[in-house]
Amino acid sequence: MGNMKKANYIISVIMLLVGVGVVALASSLKIKIGEGDPGAGFWPMMLGILIIVFSVCLLISTIKNKEKLEAKTFTISTPANIRVYILFGIIVLFCVVLYFLGFYIGALLFIPALMYLMEVRSVKKIALTTIITLAAVYILFGMLLNISLPAPIFMR
């Protein structure tokens, strides 16, 4: 179980680092105040400063309301969450397969893997869902709308 206090601390620190990063990067761009266009760096610099200011505000507000925020919980380690994390892995693998073997071969592996993860054990159901989905995508996007999908690396 995660709680909002911890989450806010983490978010504040990450955003603070992002803000500092934006300011550092923006400082290498042109900034000139008081002479027309303030330059390409001014706007991002301002955003970076605002990100830093509001990260600090979030940190302070979290410290001030820590009891209330500690009571506000969300799930991050239940079996349901773990199923999502496994899915993250499957999706990353799918992206790799998608890049090398193209959309149709990738989806042919991804849809059954996802359905299996969702506790579908009927081979007929898995096969039908996969075939109908891919056929519909092929007809709608490939044929009717003429939208190209990732092709296998050897066909590019």
């Binding site: 995660g2 909002m4 989450a7 806010n8 978010i11 955003m15 992002v18 761009l29 042109k30 000139k32 105040i33 027309g36 266009d37 303030p38 330059g39 390409a40 706007w43 991002p44 955003l47 970076g48 990100i51 509001f54 505000c57 979030l58 969300f74 799930t75 991050i76 349901a80 969450n81 199923r83 999502v84 899915l87 999706i91 990353v92 799918f94 992206c95 998608l98 959309f103 989806a107 991804f110 849809i111 996802l114 359905m115 993860l117 969702m118 579908v120 159901k125 869902t129 996969t130 989905t133 995508v137 709608l140 996007f141 009717l144 709308l145 003429n146 939208i147 190209s148 999908l149 990732p150």
Partner: protein, 505 residues
């Protein structure tokens, strides 16, 4: 007049009408599926519109938008599970009518009638009022445009229901993302890190699909863990409302449509607020107050007319000023920009035929929605029974197709997946995703006009205060941004005054 004729010619082609009808049907299906929101519907189906040239894609988008808002009422009435937040109020009387009174057809018919009436009413208001507002806004120059963008950004406070600070941080991140790539004014390259992909800026489409569709499906995978599949058996007889029902609800329909259109015009509101306010007012003025909550017809048409009339209302500031009314219109705004339109006062001058096409399209989309609602409701009802283990893989597949289809780029797919993973955790930590999208959409408008205004004034920042309209919009933005902080303080002070008056101390 010639622009209207051109628009009519553009809209009434077989391909464009097919796109509008397909978009409306697909929108209704998405809206009807429990757990799929209007935002997700637009994000998911938006890539389909790339296949259409010019007005065709925009018409399809309008169909998706209207259809998805209406579709939410189907699962709200049949399952007590609103497809969209805007349909929550519909469950209050829709579900009792469908279950206790055993009249699901009557409830769905009333909601269809209410949605269609509200949608058409607001489209007419859009046609009447937006050219007036646009003609006023044509006098705006760069400082006013900057102030408008800031005002648009200020709705972040109302779309960030969980934490306003995190919403604002999200908005700044969105604004920062919009700066990546070649700077339009100076030509310098910003934050590209040598990547050719980043040189052109990060596309809005993969971010949209990742945050609104991909992350939501990940959440659905979590939510349906060990969930038991329950099939709802619905038998519909008559779906068109009776004459008695129509007479009974007519005044409520009209009142709710006015409320919804007005609420839609106010940036930062949305369908959920409109439906609850309409429901509340219907109850207050009804002769059948006691019947509310037990399947009262007025209790069904009020929220439905209210939330559907938001569509036209929210388009008034969106089309004329280029500021979104809520999360869904923010996505619509971005989608129109991707389709080659730049909503704002100049749109009425430079792309008048496209504006008229939107007007005609919105009217048609609502009419098609009503026709589909009455004729195909038996098909749409079946959607609520699709098991999640089939629906989820289909949606996942569509997200990948959509992200790739925009630019034929695998990098867009990677961005979408990254945003999806991030969105899953953002959802848990009350980090508003709409805020990021609003930041990305309004980023270029805000920066270009901010720098343009300073160029006009030779770098003098007082230009933002000396232009009266600009100053008013900036003041409104400040009020909107500070309202979550000041609101409770004002309430507290008023409460104290009231207590003092009552006690005489």
């Amino acid at each position: 007049m010639s622009d209207i004729l051109v628009a009519l010619g553009n809209v009434f082609t077989i391909g464009n009408l097919a796109g509008l009808i397909f978009g409306t049907g697909a929108g209704i299906l998405i809206g009807a599926m429990p757990g799929l929101s209007v935002n997700m519907g637009i994000a998911l189906l938006f890539p389909l519109t790339f296949a259409f040239q010019g007005v065709g894609g925009i018409l399809m988008l309008l169909g998706i938008y209207c259809g998805a808002i209406y579709g939410g009422s189907i699962s709200a009435i049949l399952l007590k599970t609103p497809g969209t937040p805007a349909s929550v109020a519909t469950t209050l009387d829709g579900y009792p009518m469908a279950t206790k009174l055993k009249q699901p057809g009557r409830a769905l018919g009333l909601s269809t009638f209410g949605s269609t009436f509200g949608g058409i009413f607001s489209a007419i208001c859009l046609i009447i009022f937006s050219p007036m507002l646009a003609s006023v806004a044509l006098k705006f120059s760069k400082p006013e445009y900057f102030a408008l963008a800031v005002f648009g950004l200020s709705i972040i406070t109302s779309v960030s229901s969980g934490s306003i600070l995190k919403g604002l941080l999200g908005g700044f991140i969105g604004l920062f993302i919009a700066t990546i790539g070649i700077d339009n004014l100076s030509g310098s390259v910003r934050f590209a890190f040598g990547s050719t992909y980043l040189l052109g800026g990060i596309s809005f489409v993969p971010i949209l699909i990742g945050l609104f569709a991909f992350s939501q499906v990940l959440q659905s995978v979590e939510d349906c863990y060990k969930e038991k599949y329950v099939k709802t058996d619905v038998k519909l007889t008559r779906v068109f409302p009776t004459w008695e029902d129509l007479k009974r609800v007519f005044v409520t329909l009209l009142r709710s449509s006015i409320i919804g259109t007005f609420i839609g015009c106010v940036p930062g509101t949305g369908g959920d607020i409109a439906s609850f306010v309409s429901y509340d007012q219907a109850k207050r003025w009804s002769k059948y107050k006691d019947n509310f909550g037990n399947g009262e017809p007025e209790g069904i048409v009020a929220p439905e007319a209210g939330n559907n009339s938001v569509s036209g209302g929210a388009m008034i500031p969106m089309l004329t000023l280029g500021i979104p009314g809520d999360g869904a219109t923010a996505i619509m705004l971005g989608a129109l920009m991707v389709q080659g339109m730049q909503p704002g006062p100049l749109l009425f001058k430079e792309q008048a035929s496209s504006v008229y096409a939107i007007f005609i399209g919105l009217l048609l989309a609502n009419a098609v929605m009503g026709l589909m609602g009455f004729s195909l409701i038996r098909v749409f009802v079946k959607v609520v029974n699709i098991p999640k283990e089939i629906l989820i893989p289909v949606i996942f597949t569509l997200t990948f197709v959509g992200a790739y289809a925009y630019n034929n780029s695998m990098n867009d797919v990677f961005v979408m997946v990254f945003c999806g993973f991030l969105g899953y955790f953002m959802n848990k930590t009350e980090f508003s995703m709409s805020a990021i999208v609003i930041g990305i959409i309004l980023g270029a408008l805000a920066e270009t006009n901010f720098r343009g205004a300073l160029t006009m004034s030779d770098g003098n920042f007082s230009i933002f205060l000396t232009h009266p309209i600009c100053a008013v919009f900036l003041a409104l933005a400040a009020i909107s941004l500070l309202s979550p902080v000041l609101g409770p303080v004002v309430k507290k002070l008023l409460g104290k005054d009231k207590a003092k008056q009552e006690t005489g101390v």
